[in-house]
Symmetry: C2
Subunit: 276 residues, 2 copies
Amino acid sequence: MRNLNQDTITQAVLARFAGTPDPRLKEIMTCLVQHLHAFAREVKLTEAEWLQGIQFLTATGHKCDTQRQEFILLSDTLGLSMLTVAMNNEKPAGCTEATVFGPFFLEDAPHYEQGADVANGARGEPCVVRGTVKGLDGKPVADAVINVWQADADGNYDVQYAELAHPQARGILRSGPDGGFHFKTIRAEAYPIPSDGPVGDMLKATANHPWRPAHLHFMIEAPGYERLITQVFRDGDPYLDSDAVFGVRQSLVADWVELPDGSYSLDYDFVLNPVR
Amino acid sequence: MRNLNQDTITQAVLARFAGTPDPRLKEIMTCLVQHLHAFAREVKLTEAEWLQGIQFLTATGHKCDTQRQEFILLSDTLGLSMLTVAMNNEKPAGCTEATVFGPFFLEDAPHYEQGADVANGARGEPCVVRGTVKGLDGKPVADAVINVWQADADGNYDVQYAELAHPQARGILRSGPDGGFHFKTIRAEAYPIPSDGPVGDMLKATANHPWRPAHLHFMIEAPGYERLITQVFRDGDPYLDSDAVFGVRQSLVADWVELPDGSYSLDYDFVLNPVR
């Protein structure tokens, strides 16, 4: 394996990975090397561009910490996240569609009773959210674990505030015996994804905006059903057709209704797919 | 741009990057998105695997600091570095071949006079290195700036020792009026690339060793000539045919001759390509 040139090196690298014991890892490494090399070959990557790429990835890694996941932002803005979600969440008609997870979920959100205010002090227009969790057969799903999380009126998630002592605008509820749930929170607002890092630089350099249409994140889990990770989008938002992370599905767009007292309400029902 | 599925999302993402003002960046982003999506689609990437990928890249970024460049190691071990070098360094026959730069170069190495000991205390078998720098026309290249760097007998570069007060086994010399240079150092030894990080995990999981054959790095610059980044490899090394970074070229393999006093000598001449 000496004297490898641009015509022979790819086969040599593939041969190197041919002994990978795990067949799935072997498949992934083989495909990765082929596409990585084909990319470099097709664009005739220069050494200066290669170094820029190394520096971009390094800066992206350095931007990641317990509060910030810049590689997920990168995957989101390159459409890889939505592609992966789409490939892995083909559900029968009638099921609630899945969309991107995003980088702002927290494992250990606070638990709330029905009707509680998950905003927990987050700034925003008051809003009541109501819905039911059903199976594809229409039967209510009781005791489903419902994670909700969202940004505040300034477009920030709680984890983006370094000084915050307790979680805000996120929580875990359980559906009632009839599959129903309801909680207080704040109205979802459009916001830009964090753009003070390498992904923001990439968006600027490619003349793209960092905005996401207003949405409320849901993760719903119940025994016997596939986990649903999705978002409900606010109708009328100017960014519904140019979401920075390609996540909008028409079936997930809903109406935030303004009430006479100036507060808002959202009604949305979720339909889970039985485990296959 | 709503309801993107696995069949339509790639075109939507490409459309997003179609307005990139810089034509070269547009070309690179377009090709990158196509190959990234094709990779995910061909292997039918699962959401768990996607997350493993995010975590791998994040860990790779976190391993990078001023002393360690894990993304270069990743590029090296996937053959991307050597592919990029090969594509960008096609030279006329007779010129010294280029090979990978590696992650251990330092911008501000100490300057040495001819004959000085660049080892500067690094552990290893004493060795004298001699050579000349010539142009492709055979004329000596005087006053060429010659950067040399290498690992010590324990397989470590100086930058891998946190406690080291001064550079070792690296330095900058200038060729004399006849293009000649000579310096003292230590004999090059085979060594494993740093394997206590994500790249080491990847090599283990793919049943690959992290070893590089013994080599001495050179970067040679002179006005009117292309910069040469290369390595001279030690003949007889057991890793010449399985270099972890795919960098060996037969024309760069040379004899480290053992002298009667137990020290070594290496003679190697460099031929630079005129700037095109």
